[in-house]
């Protein structure tokens, strides 16, 4: 399905011959399309950190820009098209809903390069990338189980799409690896960003006995709710320690910096290809933010060890035996789930209390 034609290599070879100094020619124009305002934490903010890292690392060799808060409906295609028509050479579209618009525009601009985050449609000049956030979630589950007294966790989640379900399941599996009785309660908010609803969901979960709460939503209100109520939280997307100085244990963070720098270097060096990247702990795309002072040394060591094992590939979050909520075996002992099945996940593991 992937076509890896090397047409793009030809002009690139000429660039290389001219010398390695990127800045000698006109800067590579790079644009980012964001689904929400940048803010100071969350999905878009992490991509913006990547853009800033790109600027810092590449200097005059690149000229980056962004458009924020672009709706996923009919507007996306116009924005992407305008960016391409305005002379941007490499365009990153950072939300799933941009998939078909990006594909359409990529078809109209064969000389430009496009990268779409979290989608699955590719073309000669359209690459895709995402990260195995669930790997960090698994380690977070281990941490949660070690810090919890009740063994009941709260999970504020946006929508039951595979990426979110992977996180909930991996978190629960991680927790159950140290406390087989651990349970995760899920509340859906049906919104990626709704501080009020996220807050209400967090309060409900805390009232229901959860003493570590986490979230797969975009605001900082879950960490804030936990701080006020005096229970622990594990944040998502960005480091949110300033919103939970006493209680936010860590955060499962996204890190696109190295990926963006590598892809831009490939584009400058002529080695850019339309590939599908699904990095994880190993690639540094998902990480844990620095631990809270409340986390004892022994637990830090254990969780660091889990992260290291995942990074080394010796521990797989979705290794069998895994049963679903009804007790039906989904992965046999000694087996690990295939990437395709992980990518399409649409069920809960045993230990999750909630409905999809």
């Amino acid at each position: 399905m992937l076509s890896r034609r090397s047409l793009l290599l030809v002009p690139a070879a000429a660039t290389l011959a001219a010398g390695p100094a990127y800045a000698a020619t006109a800067p590579l124009k790079i644009a980012f399309v964001y689904v929400s305002p940048i803010g100071d934490a969350g999905w878009t903010f992490q991509h913006e950190l990547g853009r800033r890292a790109l600027d810092a690392a590449m200097g005059a060799a690149v000229k980056t820009s962004f458009v924020e808060n672009v709706e996923e409906g009919a507007d996306a295609e116009r924005v992407i098209r305008k960016l391409a028509a305005d002379g941007n050479d490499l365009i990153f579209t950072t939300s799933f809903g941009y998939m078909n618009p990006t594909l359409k525009v990529a078809g109209s601009f064969p000389s430009k390069k496009f990268e779409h985050a979290t989608g699955y449609k590719r073309a000669v000049n359209l690459a895709t990338y995402s990260a195995r956030f669930y790997e960090g979630r698994y380690a977070a589950g281990v941490l949660a189980a070690r810090m919890s007294k009740t063994g009941v966790f709260g999970y504020v989640a946006a929508f039951p799409i595979p990426e979110v379900l992977q996180g909930i399941n991996a978190f629960t599996l991680g927790a159950r690896s140290v406390n087989p009785k651990a349970a995760t309660k899920v509340v859906w908010t049906s919104s990626w960003f709704d501080p009020g609803k996220e807050r209400a969901a967090a309060d409900t979960l805390i009232a229901g006995g959860a003493d570590v709460i986490t979230h797969h939503t975009d605001s900082t209100s879950v960490a804030q709710a936990a701080e006020e109520k005096g229970v622990f939280s594990i944040a998502y997307n960005s480091d949110q320690s300033k919103y939970g100085p006493k209680t936010c244990l860590t955060a499962v963070t996204h890190n696109w910096n190295d990926y963006y720098i590598a892809r831009v270097k490939a584009a400058l060096g002529g080695t850019w290809k339309s590939i599908d990247t699904w990095g994880g702990v190993k690639e540094g795309m998902t990480r844990l933010a620095p631990y809270n002072a409340a986390v004892p040394d022994a637990v830090r060591k254990e969780v660091d060890g889990v992260m290291a094992a995942i990074g080394a590939g010796t521990r797989k979050p979705f290794a069998g035996p895994i049963a679903d909520q009804d007790g039906k075996a989904k992965v046999a002992a000694g087996q690990a789930m295939a990437d395709k099945d992980i990518a399409e996940m649409k069920w809960f593991v045993a230990g999750v209390q909630g409905k999809i």
């Binding site: 458009v67 996923e72 009919a74 507007d75 305008k82 699955y120």
Partner: protein
């Protein structure tokens, strides 16, 4: 001149408001360290520099116009449809379902049925509010607004459940519609579809309805003088039903034209709030169909210009929001000042 004033003022006031907003925007751009003239050019002129720009403007204005015309007819009869967003969504769902079912078979009949289903879906959603109003006296402002959120949740459930693309890796989206269910583009290479023609047609039809028909007369009487309307035997229930079905149908048409047009599939977010923006457009256009045309074009231009400001001038989105706010403020202020003359009155001491 004094004779002309009542005629000219309603025309000149919005022009003055736009000029004032442009001046305010220029100050803002200067304060942000940009070249004000270049930014104004980017905001108001650059988006219309080529044929594609006009096509995008018409594409963006179409759903605003369709929603606003229906809302305006309702407000004239004192029926407040705040939930065009929900009717828009229901129209997209009903039409989209038709497209997904009939599309694969192809045939000329698919698209007309898709459009009719869209209109019916929106009208039905408006009809729910009409039923609750006429039967249980539940006010339509609240009901239509709340039904919007219901519709959006229904769409979210459908694209994660029954209408989910089986080959879509469980992402929340439907299959792409078949070409037979898609609206044809007005010209090669542009995205604007025949939906723009539908929208333009509603303008003379709306004007005709309000100005030249008995129904329109009744609606206006119900709106302006409910007591007189009752005395004349004009049914308020009839007006409620008519307005909500009409505005719901038009919003539904807008919805299906978006998903069977530039989007091409059902997905959780199909509208950046066209139904709600339609309320602003209806009032900016003074509830007159022709005024609404200008208002929807202006709103659309602000959207496009705001994007351009981000892309070419690297201005934050919030700057566009400030300019939009200034424009609305000046327009409303101009309205007030054409209708009323403020006088400074010295407070007298009461003796």
């Amino acid at each position: 001149m004094a004779v002309l004033a009542p005629v000219l003022a309603p025309v000149l006031a919005p022009v003055l408001a736009v000029v004032l907003a442009a001046l305010g925007a220029a100050l803002l751009f200067a304060a942000l360290g940009r070249d004000p003239l270049a930014c104004l050019h980017t905001l108001f002129i650059a988006p219309l520099a080529d044929r594609n720009g006009w096509s995008e403007l018409a594409l963006k204005a179409t759903p605003l116009l369709l929603c606003a015309i229906g809302i305006a007819v309702g407000v004239r009869a004192n029926v407040w449809n705040i939930g065009a967003e929900g009717q828009f969504t229901m129209g997209a769902i009903a039409g989209g379902a038709t497209a997904l079912v009939l599309g694969p078979a192809g045939g000329w009949y698919v698209l007309p049925l898709v459009l009719l289903a869209g209109i019916a879906g929106g009208a039905a959603w408006g009809g729910v509010a009409a039923l609750l109003r006429t039967r249980f006296n539940a006010h339509e402002i609240l009901v239509t607004l709340m039904l919007s959120y219901v519709a959006i949740q229904v769409l979210g459930w459908l694209v994660r459940g029954p209408m989910q693309d089986p080959e879509g890796f469980n992402f929340p989206q439907s299959r792409l519609f078949d070409p037979s269910a898609l609206l044809p583009a007005l010209f090669e290479g542009g995205r604007v579809t025949v939906a723009a023609v539908f929208a333009v047609l509603t303008v003379p039809l709306g004007a005709l309805l309000l100005g030249r028909t008995v129904m329109g007369y009744r609606l206006r009487v119900v709106g302006l003088a409910p007591g007189a309307a009752r005395y004349a035997g004009f049914s308020e229930r009839g007006a409620v039903w008519f307005c909500l079905l009409l505005s719901g149908g038009l919003a539904g048409l807008a919805g299906i034209c978006e998903v069977a047009g530039p989007i091409g599939q059902l997905m959780p977010s199909i509208s950046p709030g066209y139904g709600f923006a339609g309320i602003i457009v209806a009032f900016l256009g003074r509830l007159q169909p022709v005024g609404i045309v200008f208002a929807s074009l202006l709103m659309a231009l602000l959207y496009l210009g705001g994007e351009s400001l981000q892309i070419t001038q690297q201005l934050p989105l919030a700057a566009t929001g400030v300019i939009q706010g200034m424009l609305l403020l000046f327009l409303l202020a101009a309205d007030v000042l054409t209708l009323y003359r403020p006088r400074w009155v010295r407070r007298r001491a009461h003796g």
